[in-house]
Amino acid sequence: MSTVQFTFDGVTYHGNKGEPLSAALLRNGIKVVTESSYRLRPRGVVGLGYEEPCALVQIDSGSGEPMVPATKIELVDGLVVRSLAGVGDLPNQIDKARYDKTFRHVDVLVIGAGLSGLKAAQKAANSGKSVIILDDQFEAGGYLKDLNEKIDSKILNSLKKNNVTHLQRTTAIGLYDQNYVVAIERRTDHLSAEILPEIARMRNWHIRAKEIILATGAFQRVLVFPNNDRPGIMLSHAAATYLHKYRVGTFNSAVVVTVDDFGYQDAIRIHKSGVKVQAIIDIRKKVTGKLLEQVKKLGIEVILGSTVVNTSADQSGSLNSVSIAQTSLEGEVIGIKQEIKTDLLAVSGGWTPTVHLATYLNLKPVWDKKIAAFVMPKLPQNIKATGFSNGEFDKVTNPPAVFFGIIPEGEDAKVSFIDLQRDANVRDLRRAVGAGLTSVEHIKRYTTIGTAHDQGKTSGTTTMGLLGQLISKEPHEVGTLTFRPPYVGVPFSALAGRDLGILSDPIRTTPIHSAHLLANAPMEDVGQWKRPWYFPIEKENMHDAVLRECKAAREDVAVMDASTLGKIDIQGPDAGIFLDRIYTNMFSSLKVGASRYGLMCGVDGMVFDDGVTTRIAEDRFLMTTTTGGAAKVLDWLEEWLQTEWPDLNVYCTSVTEHWSTVAIVGPKSRNLLAKLAPTLDVSNEAFPFMENRYAEVAGIPARIARISFSGELAYEINIEAWYGLHIWQEVMKKGKEFNIAAYGTETMHVLRAEKGFVIVGQETDGTQTPQDLGMDWIVSKKKDFIGKRSFTRSDTTRNGRHQLVGLLPLDNKTLLPEGSYIVNEGDSKKEGKLTHIGYVTSSYSSSALSRTFALAMVADGRNQIGKFAEVPIGNNVARVEIVDSVFLDKENTHRDG
């Protein structure tokens, strides 16, 4: 064992590497570790593990961590901690440590590596099963390890030989249906106080096990009496382990107060460590057996039928004496008080099996009077419990007393603590009972008992016991233990694993992405895709860049990466019929080689997605969807095919990423295409609107579609995605002589808005019918399709629905914020609530119109055309004219170039 340095509250101390910080603090004479959250009373170390209710610290070295029990920090050189009262600080620097997750499936998962857990793991492994054993302590051995007893090395060796995954410092924080366990492994804090850059600091294990063995041990309980919170009052198992195993020599003498035989064992260990045990105070009236003889032989006085009824402290607040008196099992003090000077009171208040994981499955622990504890209920077939957690407390001669402490009144009640972290005390419990509460679930919420970081590990059973004593009921008559995951506090970073920063969500990119980055195009997030927003030249701002890009598309030629559009290859003899049912308009009549724009609705008749679909062959269509809608449209198609129309011979396959699409747009796009595809007859007669042609473009086989989302002459060049970048580069090169400009999503939006084309998700939010959007022309009257029935509903046919219109701000230059609401002319000056008649869906500056314009949804909009309205913007009001939603080239003369 090597000596290391650590800092506590700014002072440097020494301790042994690998021991709990709590042991090192005690050995350095630090009995007062912190003060309590609400009452500011001095508090010290009480326990040995996660049950610790008081000695919380904030770790400032390494990644930093708030609210960690000093009992669970393994001492390493350079550790920096400070005492903490109640609320921790989140470290304010970014945590540079790694965190990860791992997923495993095993035959048997053993939780707890005490002797019974190890034996269970050994047995399972020997029978050829795959096994994980995990344990939240620094080393295997559980209770026996605290007693300094060695675990048979044969067991550990056989685990190793059988490839058992053995994880220490790993806490199962949750148990869920189907034997699904989540556990947190702490992997580096014991190696170094610094962050280790290449090793995950914590690992979040997700384990599915055919069988789970709970060997989670038990926690010792506190007893309740006035001033039971003073530093120097500890659980007897913890006290004996600090003194005996960790050689903490801070205390001069000890008193043990107990309700069971464990107090005697711990008294013997304390005595062996060299600290004189003055007396064992046992609430039981009669005790026999070997342990009693042993302690008597050591000269330890045993006082029966009594318990501790008060304590006093020195100037620092640490314990310096205890008062004891004869007391009944109901907690009534009947004898005369007697004082014993001591600086250590070891409390053995009984043991509570750690049933947390079972209660996460909504199983209710049952009261076992024989061992004075709630124990595991009947477990599901594939979960077993063993050892202490199953209530198997061995070496017990005399049954424990069902006794939880005394229940004083008045001032004493206020200092008789039940939940030490919450400072919740007997007075709180009395008030809860006085208010008429009898269920422990209500009392927990009224008193805050069990709501601190430790979730009542030491106070849960005690509360029920005391409550029972107060209202003359057995503990199980007032409730049972209910815990919720996580079992211990877990940093969010451990739950996130490596899903942080760029890995928090996929960033989807097209094959042309690298060219957009080279062009310094700012990106817009479209679903998970990154799409270039605009392509600034030198220091151009967005406004100027978009005006320039629009101008190029309207007067020369502009190019856009349209690869993100969803693409679905639909094949089968019934493909045409299928599309007739999916889209509001007809597709079975489409001729091979032609494309058609289609709109699809949900069963509610509301617009769901849109796109252009091309008939590739008699029984084959290529559907395009919106960028964000690709996955949901494919799901939609599959749902109808698989559940409603299995008789249709149609299959769908996603080809979104197989094809890359480069759109060239503008009056000069035909000339550019002629250069790119010299073998292709690009004349308007040979290659009309909404037709497709196959040709080599820059040497690559391509399908060229003459479709337009801007109203201009335009082509979409579709190539296998491997060639996307090459085609983009060739288009840019060959387009130079035509003053080509690359454009992004913003210009695309402006160009289509000038033509009044809607974008699903921009003009729509799932509450618009095609008719609302002025698209009755696309709704077939002849055939049936999804959503058709809903167009006869009273709500879809009523007058006054919001309809798509255009808005022109009267001053030509006000850019209406998207989402602004619209009110009747004159209304914005009115006091009180305004009637809003609609809202702005899209709003841009237009190069072609030399002004700003907007699209909007306005109540009874088409009948409002020609009227004026107002749009409040902050403290100002913009006056607008309501106009038709098509602003440019109503006669579609640009389309053919």
Binding site: P573, H658, G699, I700
Partner: protein, 188 residues
């Protein structure tokens, strides 16, 4: 090199990472794939099997390997034939005539990352939620799920060698994830 070979670019640009002993990631670019959907055991399915000289396994997750092709069963009526390309598509179409099947060249839809080395399984377990124990996910099996939220088809080649077919637009994200998961094992 012809014009096509010269001008194509794979999503990960032939990336590699790590070392062969512990963990090695490498993109195997330009693998060709045909996605076939056809009613299992139908006359049309049999015709396709015959012309490609393959068998369609009946169980999702099972695969069939021939000299030229690896057939992955992705759904009850859905197979991906790795190694088959556009020319095979034409051959299959000719063979089935009016038979009902969907034949899709999906070669550029995904790229393929090979994960190998002593820690291949361990690295994948950092994100793959299904059981990768070689006794369960045996050599020669395939599965489809998401890995770090990216759609991935996984094929267990020789024991401890995994082929991940990832949608091209997610390839860089998956690569970032795998590279990060591999860090701890590079120098072991």
């Amino acid at each position: 090199m012809d014009n096509l070979t010269q001008n194509r670019k794979s999503p990960l640009n032939n990336a590699t990472l790590g070392n062969k002993k512990n963990i090695f990631l490498s993109e195997k670019p330009f693998a060709t794939t045909l996605e076939i959907r056809v009613k299992p055991n139908s006359v049309t399915a049999k015709k396709i099997e015959k012309v490609l000289n393959i068998k369609f396994p009946n169980q999702v997750g099972q695969t069939f390997k021939s000299k030229n092709f690896t057939v992955l069963t992705l759904g009850p009526d859905w197979w991906m034939v790795v190694g088959a390309n556009k020319h095979h598509e034409a051959k299959v179409r000719a063979a089935i005539g009016n038979g009902f099947a969907s034949i899709v060249d999906s070669s550029a839809q995904r790229t393929f990352v090979e994960v190998s080395g002593k820690y291949a399984q361990v690295v994948l377990e950092h994100g793959w939620e299904n059981d990768l124990d070689p006794k369960v996910f045996k050599s020669g099996m395939c599965a489809q799920a998401v890995l770090s939220r990216s759609p991935v088809i996984i094929y267990h080649g020789p024991i401890g060698v995994y082929h991940l077919y990832v949608r091209a637009s997610f390839a860089q994200h998956l690569w970032n994830f795998l590279s990060d998961a591999a860090v701890e094992y590079l120098k072991k």
